[in-house]
């Protein structure tokens, strides 16, 4: 059963439906059966990467350069279905498509796009996006990684944190502050011909995560890392350019949250129909039906939100505050849906075997990354009132 209570399938285009079906088949056939072990061991499922490449979703809405040029609706459905399977893989793809390739597509020169995007679209090259720092999470606007122009090179120094894929990525977009004009710019740190990262680039996995355990989000240290001048993204010249990328990806986080909520709901509904207590399925209890109906109400409103978001993106009227409102709403609501679902499963809900606890704890990551609830609220608040209240 898919919770399509308001017949939203009718609003999907053929391409969106096709993408949904492809990703759903992949998730049901390849991801769900194996992902719990990776999650438990905090191992990244490299074996799945070639199969992801075949789905035709990497590169998402980017046109040309070997990318699929999905409509925003199709791209959203891909994210939803991926998250319905697993949050770690969703992040892997999101970092690749939305953040790393998105930065290049949005801010790169024609030559830079030709240089990097085609191999990234096939996942022959994996990307990463290094913005967050140990001391600058929500206020990444104050980031302290420095870039110094030195002849034909830029020299990068600093530290980054929570950088998905960065320990093995071929193409790392590093945001750093130019010592000369103090503006934030983006630089592409590449592996060399020998397959190793340049001197001075090192990573250390962050261990002990309680969510998204199957994707690696390491600390990155940059010590006099030299990148060729050509590797500065041509259009990335202020912090505002980074926010343009984030505005696009925040919509993806909303779809992702919805995917987790859908998964949790489906698991809970199925369980409630099978689990018997007091001689009947727990689905026959008023309290359980009340919870299920409440979950479906939230999911349906999230679906409507997402479909409208895709329309606005397609017509080019999508704004940063709109993205923040969607991310804020979906992260809150989906987290609650996952909590309610976990509760319906009782003690079994605590076991990885039933998947719902994984969706719940992955949702904790979604609640924080791509801008916390607080930050989204302040972005919307500034838009509403004209008053910035960040500090």
């Amino acid at each position: 059963v898919s919770p399509d209570y308001y017949l939203l399938d009718e609003l999907l285009t053929d391409d969106a439906r096709a993408v949904r079906d492809r990703v759903r088949a992949f998730v049901d056939g390849e991801v769900t059966p194996v992902i719990n072990d990776y999650w438990a061991e905090a191992e990244f499922p490299f074996a799945l990467v070639p199969k992801i490449a075949e789905l035709g979703i990497v590169g998402s809405t980017i046109e040309g350069y070997g990318c699929p040029g999905l409509s925003p609706l199709a791209a959203g459905m891909a994210t939803l279905e991926m998250a319905r399977g697993d949050g770690s893989i969703t992040t892997f793809v999101g970092v690749q498509s939305g953040l790393a390739m998105g930065s290049i597509a949005l801010l790169g020169s024609e030559e830079q796009k030709k240089r990097w995007l085609p191999s990234m679209a096939t996942l022959d090259a994996v990307g990463a996006f290094a913005l967050t720092e140990p001391e600058h999470g929500s206020d990444s606007v104050s980031l302290e990684t420095w870039a110094r122009h030195d002849g034909e090179h830029w020299v990068l120094n600093g530290a980054k944190r929570w950088i998905g894929n960065a320990s093995f990525a071929d193409v790392v977009i590093v945001w750093a502050r130019d010592v000369d004009d103090r503006q934030v710019k983006a630089f592409v740190v590449e592996k060399g011909a020998d397959g190793s990262h340049p001197d001075g680039y090192s990573t250390e996995l962050i261990t002990g995560k309680i969510g998204k355990r199957a994707v690696w989000q390491p600390d990155v240290e940059l010590r006099d890392v030299r990148v060729p001048a050509d590797n500065k993204l041509a259009g990335a010249n202020t912090f505002h350019d980074a926010t343009r990328v984030l505005t696009a990806t925040r919509g993806g986080a909303a779809w992702e949250a919805l995917g987790h909520a859908v998964a949790a709901f489906e698991i809970a509904l199925d369980y409630a129909g099978r689990r018997k207590q007091f001689g009947k399925p727990i689905a026959s209890f008023q309290l359980v039906q009340h919870t299920l109906a409440g979950m479906l109400a939230e999911i349906t409103s999230m679906q409507l939100y997402c479909v409208r978001m895709a329309q606005l993106q397609a017509q080019g009227s999508w704004t940063g505050p709109m993205a923040s409102l969607a991310k804020l709403n979906h992260a809150r609501k989906a987290r609650q849906v996952c909590l309610d679902a976990r509760d319906i499963l009782g003690g079994n809900g605590l076991l990885l075997e039933h998947h719902v606890a994984r969706h719940l704890t992955d949702m904790e990551v979604v609640h924080t990354y791509e801008g916390t609830d607080n930050i989204q609220a302040l972005i919307v608040g500034r838009d509403l009132t004209g008053i910035a209240a960040f500090a």
């Binding site: 209890f285 008023q286 009340h290």
Partner: protein, 397 residues
């Protein structure tokens, strides 16, 4: 009024009565009896007619409810816990009538009692304690609500007299009051004045129509060259500390009062659920209804514990203002949620004045805002936690 007989467990789930002394219980029962006899049978009509029953002041005075935690000058000299229990029972009747007792005792009388001269106390307090005279307390202004430091009402010396000019807003009882305690800015900072309401230039008009506290009166006050003798000033109050000390008294009573409204709404909902039948069974037999009732009891019992503990601290003399904020913020917030949920148990019948929950919920909207909004109490607590006042930060562009 709950018609069904509720069990002892349903009425006092954690046996909190056992935490009270015999004397405290006796006082509580007296006030409860008064509420049952004088308020419950009439409140729907008073509320609908937006009528404050002036005559009830003297009856409350006889019971010792006015300025009851003050000593001397005809006041009852009861403990903070006893005053709290009275507020609880009164608000189980109606927030508007508990508000009268708060304004009279905790604000107007306590200002005179704390900061007045012997002469001022003797002149005003005995009549106020008896309910023969009604007092009000003018701090809030049209443009100075949460931020009383922004007040623009002024007091200036003119020879041997003081002259007050300005405006006050949301002042309980002002249009029927005999005396007003008015706070105004002067060369010496904020000062308080005892103003007989017949003084030329003093005018109070009721704010109407209200959707909350309809059985109580809140007013605009205009002060137009109100000339007062030199001895009208309250000598003991300098700066905003004066009015804040009074607010803390009133806020304390709200901690109890809000739980009274919540208890009455819950008991009404429980009694109704036991007697109302749908699908062939009392609606109390439905899981969803039981969940609502249980959630109400959880919060009421916790709220009562907070109130009682706060009262014991107050009687011990160690209660800090930021601890009062804890109770005011929590108990009013939870009480509103309880009353609204209780209303849903009563279904369509819950939207009439025949039943108390909707009236309590609407009353509590007023309670939630006055004596410090949720936001202000949050910031008082936040400052206490962090050491950082955040009343104005986060608001600069």
């Amino acid at each position: 009024m709950p018609e069904a007989d509720l069990t002892a467990r349903a009425r006092d789930y954690l046996d909190l009565d056992g935490l009270l002394t015999g004397e405290e219980r006796a006082l509580r029962d007296r006030v409860r009896g008064f509420v049952d006899e004088r308020i419950r049978p009439n409140i729907a009509r008073w509320y609908e007619d937006a009528h404050f029953p002036r005559e009830i002041a003297a009856e409350m005075g006889k019971l010792g409810l006015l300025g009851m935690h003050l000593t001397g000058y005809g006041c009852a000299g009861r403990s903070a816990v006893e005053y709290g229990l009275a507020a609880l029972e009164l608000e189980a009747g109606d927030s508007g009538l508990r508000t009268f007792v708060s304004v009279q005792g905790s604000l107007a009388m306590s200002a005179i009692h704390k900061f007045g001269t012997e002469e001022q106390k003797r002149t005003w307090l005995p009549g106020m304690a008896a309910g023969e005279l009604i007092g009000c307390f003018g701090l809030t202004e049209p443009d100075a609500g949460s931020d009383p430091a922004a007040m623009t009402t002024t007091a200036r010396r003119d020879g041997d007299t003081w002259v007050l000019d300005g405006a006050k807003h949301w002042i309980g009882l002002a249009s029927i009051a005999d005396v007003a305690v008015i706070w105004a800015g002067s060369d010496e900072g904020v000062r308080g004045f005892v103003v007989p309401t017949g003084t030329p230039g003093f005018a109070a008009t009721a704010i109407e129509p209200k959707l909350s506290m309809r059985a109580s009166i809140q007013c605009d006050i205009g002060l137009d060259g109100v000339r007062l003798p030199a001895d009208a000033v309250l000598p003991g109050a300098h700066g905003l500390r004066g009015p804040f000390a009074c607010l803390n008294e009133a806020r304390y009573g709200i901690i109890w009062g809000a739980m009274g409204a919540a208890r009455d709404a819950y008991e009404t909902a429980l009694a109704y659920a036991l007697r109302r039948r749908q699908f062939g069974v009392p609606i109390a037999a439905f899981q969803l209804t039981q969940q609502k009732l249980v959630d109400m009891v959880l919060e009421i019992q916790k709220g009562l514990l907070v109130a009682l503990h706060t009262g014991r601290l107050k009687d011990a003399g160690t209660l800090a203002p930021e601890q009062i904020s804890f109770g005011k913020l929590n108990n009013v917030r939870e009480a509103i949620a309880i009353c609204r949920e209780a209303r849903t148990v009563l279904g369509g019948n819950g939207v009439t004045l025949e039943h108390s929950p909707a009236r309590h919920a609407d009353n509590l909207e007023g309670v939630r805002t006055y004596e410090g909004t949720d936001e202000i109490h949050t910031l008082i607590m936040g400052r206490a936690l962090t050491g950082i006042p955040a009343f104005t930060t986060g608001a600069q562009s």
